[in-house]
């Protein structure tokens, strides 16, 4: 058995999928790491585990600081870090949410098959590329006044439905029904609004993508059927995007405000990005209202892309194609950078907690009151985006995740190679050609964006998913492989 350690601290193996960092007196709770030996090899190479140790020193942290199988070093919290704090005497950390508030995933099911789409895949990508704007400076095709932007921030998907961009079915199948009610647009700075104003419905760049995917394998037929995934070869559509510049600026603004208003607290931190505010402080309250507004923007952002994707499919296939109805239905929409109020049993007592998920997906098990009626029996759909050219997965939330990980599971593959190193190793054109040989078609706003996102720069998503499944914190439902990819 291989022995792991970081910065002179030993890491104990609990079982094949769970490790624990040696406890030090400064740590209020243990660090638990969900990983296999193969994933641990990478995890100990960067700073992620030491950043999780820093999380354990925060006030009021409950049970464990958790590291998901796809974790890597971030700023403040690691990406793939989960921590929960009591709502009355804990703390809130903007860096524990991540800069891209409500970065998340939407999955749409279709009645089409690979054979239906194959003759038109390039045309479809061209039309999608026209309708869904991506890359640097990409502008929305919706023009919002300041007052309308505030309605988006406060109203979330209710705004989208009122304006014909969303259906009731979309709302019912979205986390929080696409609207966090505590949102207050007044708590979002004018700068943040200015950054986001013309970005609603745009994909962005980096690891964000829009993919036409093929159902490649079904592991759990009954659950898959409940999620509108019926057979191998079925076409589905996945969007991975967030709250764009608006959300990033909300995080920046609040990190800076904590720095200005709580300098004594900042001085004691191992790194400034770990900045937090006591839950009872005005900063924490304001942050939660601003974060909720940014989250609502994120849901509307993905919803407007859905609207444009539906328009694009209708243009290419009509409303009926090969005797099949062309209808894109929302399977689910879930965030993986967010703070939520949730209730868990701690030492036999039910407690309301602020659960911070930074690069982790919520994974509610069956019968959770916040799940839509359609998913009460199955548990929550978990949508794990892969990287360009690799598989994505659908999993389902479990009771074990409820008990052990504050209902959290990974959020995707997680990088292993820097963009700098990737640019030296790969060329965008070469990656496009190699993927086309494998029948994966790419449309990108830039070549260099492609080389930075080469499949080899990510962790093995198959291994990340296997660990979730074996550890029981997210059970395998279906494997999706890319067919057409749109990237910024």
């Amino acid at each position: 058995m291989k022995k792991f350690e970081v910065s002179g601290m030993k890491i104990k193996k609990i079982n094949d999928y769970l490790y624990e960092l040696e406890q030090r007196s400064s740590m209020n709770v243990p660090v638990k790491i969900f990983a296999s030996e193969a994933l641990m090899e990478n995890l100990v190479k960067d700073n992620a585990i030491m950043q999780a140790k820093n999380m354990t020193e925060m006030p009021g942290i409950q049970k464990n600081a958790l590291i998901m199988p796809d974790a890597h070093q971030g700023y403040g919290f690691p990406v793939g870090g989960v921590a929960a704090f009591p709502i009355d005497n804990g703390c809130i950390s903007p860096g524990g949410t991540g800069f891209d508030i409500n970065c998340g995933v939407r999955l749409l099911s279709t009645q089409l098959t690979k054979e239906d789409v194959e003759p038109k895949i390039k045309e479809l990508l061209d039309v999608l590329f026209q309708n869904v704007h991506c890359g640097v400076g990409s502008e929305s095709n919706v023009r919002l006044t300041h007052a309308e932007l505030d309605e988006v921030l406060n109203g979330g998907l209710d705004w989208a439905k009122e304006h014909g961009y969303a259906t009731q079915h979309d709302i019912d199948h979205c986390e929080e029904n696409g609207r966090m009610k505590q949102a207050d647009a007044g708590k979002v700075s004018p700068t943040a609004k200015k950054r986001g104003k013309n970005q609603l419905g745009t994909l962005g760049a980096g690891n964000h993508f829009l993919e036409i995917q093929i159902v490649d394998e079904i592991f759990d037929e009954k659950t898959a059927k409940a999620f509108e995934i019926y057979e191998k070869g079925q076409i589905v559509v996945m969007i991975h995007s967030g709250s764009r510049g608006l959300g990033h600026q909300v995080c920046t603004d609040f990190l800076r405000r904590i720095e200005d208003e709580l300098p004594e607290l900042i001085a004691k931190l191992p790194e400034k990005d770990l900045a937090y505010a006591p839950t009872s402080s005005p900063i924490a309250k304001d942050y939660l209202q601003a974060m909720a507004a940014a989250a609502n923007f994120g849901w509307c952002n993905r919803q407007l892309m859905v609207f444009n994707i539906r328009k694009s499919f209708a243009k290419v296939f009509g409303t009926e194609y090969n005797c099949k109805q062309v209808e894109l239905k929302t399977v689910y929409d879930v965030a993986h950078n967010i703070v939520k109020v949730e209730e868990y049993i701690i030492d036999g007592v039910s407690k309301k907690l602020y659960v911070h998920r930074k690069g982790a997906t919520r994974a509610f098990g069956p019968n959770h009151k916040e799940l839509p009626r359609d998913y009460q029996k199955t548990g929550q759909p978990i949508l794990l985006p892969g990287s360009m050219g690799t598989a994505s997965y659908v999993l389902v939330g479990t009771d074990k995740a409820m008990q052990e990980t504050f209902a959290s599971t990974p959020h995707g593959a997680g990088r292993v190679m820097s963009r700098n190193a990737a640019n030296k190793l790969f060329k965008g054109e070469q990656i496009k050609n190699e993927l086309e040989k494998r029948n994966i078609f790419i449309k990108s706003a830039s070549w260099k964006g492609l080389s930075e996102e080469a499949p080899a720069v990510y962790k093995d998503v198959d291994e990340v998913v296997r660990v979730s499944h074996e550890a029981g914190i997210g059970k395998l439902v279906a494997k999706l492989v890319p067919f057409g990819v749109l990237k910024g």
Partner: protein, 147 residues
């Protein structure tokens, strides 16, 4: 910092998920100026950008790292709001009075639209931030940008 000055003095370092760079300068002010160029050169080859637009920046902060953070954050915002790509720093002055730093800069560049631009700037972080004078008297500025 004369216009069209020699090769910008910065280099990129490995960071698993984000972008990390180190800018150098004969003075701290020059290192600050080069940090802007390093940041935009991640998005496009700034040597090809025409310095046709002019921006005046003024930042006040009680600490140097906060000054650098807020200075670079201004450009992250300008990219989203104005599509502005900086490629030349005409002047950059840092003064200190009553425990407060003031940075004044004149920066030139162009709108992204005419260039091959990729990636994005999400936010500046304090992660591994360094502002340091070297033994030989030159200055280093190191920043991790969330991209």
């Amino acid at each position: 910092m004369e216009p069209n000055s020699a090769i910008p003095k910065f280099k990129y370092l490995d960071h698993t998920s984000e972008a990390k760079f180190q800018a150098n300068g004969a003075t701290m002010e020059e290192a600050f100026a080069h940090s802007v160029l390093a940041m935009f050169n991640m998005l496009t080859d700034i040597k090809k950008v025409k310095p046709v637009l002019r921006k005046e920046i003024e930042i006040k902060a009680p600490k140097l790292d906060t000054l650098l953070f807020d200075f670079l954050d201004q450009f992250v915002v300008l990219l989203d709001t104005d599509g502005f790509i900086a490629n030349q720093v005409d002047s950059l002055k840092i003064t200190k009075k009553f425990e407060m730093y003031t940075l004044k800069a004149i920066v030139r560049g162009d709108s992204y639209k005419d260039y091959d631009v990729h990636g994005s700037l999400k936010a500046i972080t304090y992660n591994d931030m360094v502002i340091k004078q070297q033994k030989n008297g030159t200055w280093i500025v190191q920043v991790v940008v969330d991209i």
